[in-house]
Symmetry: C2
Subunit: 107 residues, 2 copies
DNA sequence: TTATAAGTTTATACATTTGTGAACTAATAA
DNA sequence: TTATTAGTTCACAAATGTATAAACTTATAA
């Protein structure tokens, strides 16, 4: 029963997927690595905000960074992150679809 | 640029994975459907708390419920949920492993 | 009917997450 | 050296998420 700890760790990593900006970053990085400035350009917003989200993702093992001169290059640590993300998107799409047809039949 | 909406919906579904109790429920339900009381028995805690988490998961399309007399039976809407969850667990395990070996080499 | 069992809903307090801007740091260029 | 570029860190306010207990609903059993 005190293996509850594993659920906490697991949930903590999954939390990394639970924010629109972070999803957008994962989506972007699923086709290769990108520099901070490029990411910021596509996602918009404040650099301090992006920086915080990125470093949280690194801390949780979702992303890795490396330095290239004065730039920082971010990448997914594993394709598994992108796959998990895609699966959840499919679940979303199926749910939306189901809601739509449910609404149709109700009229 | 205003397709940001999809990231919000996507993140919102992913948020369903971001809590220890909800992970525990997904884990349990990945081997079949369970009644509310059974779930409560395994996870512990207050029924009102569990009920809220479960209905949030239903709302997000992660779980479905059906009634059976005065009981309610919960199930995953799709095996995809369990697979996404497993992938993220693997990412976690690989990260922990990497941290461990990094620590070793540092000594 | 009236009880009881099985959850759900609601209200509220507490904790965590998030966005913002200012201050800071590290690497390169002048 | 001194500036500049590229990003990080910090402090704080606002927004969200979570746990708890009490009140409520619905279906079955007495």
């Amino acid at each position: 029963m005190q293996d509850k700890r594993i659920y906490e760790l697991h949930a903590d990593v999954c939390k990394a997927l639970g924010h629109p900006l972070r999803i957008e970053v994962i989506d972007l990085l699923s086709d290769g690595e990108y520099g901070f400035t490029d990411i910021l350009e596509r996602t918009g917003g404040l650099k301090s905000n992006l920086s915080q989200h990125l470093s949280a993702m690194v801390r949780k093992g979702i992303l890795r960074v490396r330095r290239d001169g004065k730039n920082r290059i971010y990448a997914l640590t594993s394709r598994k992150v992108a796959r998990a993300c895609t699966l959840m998107r499919e679940v979303l799409v199926e749910h939306v679809e189901k809601q739509r047809t449910a609404l149709m039949n109700e009229k």
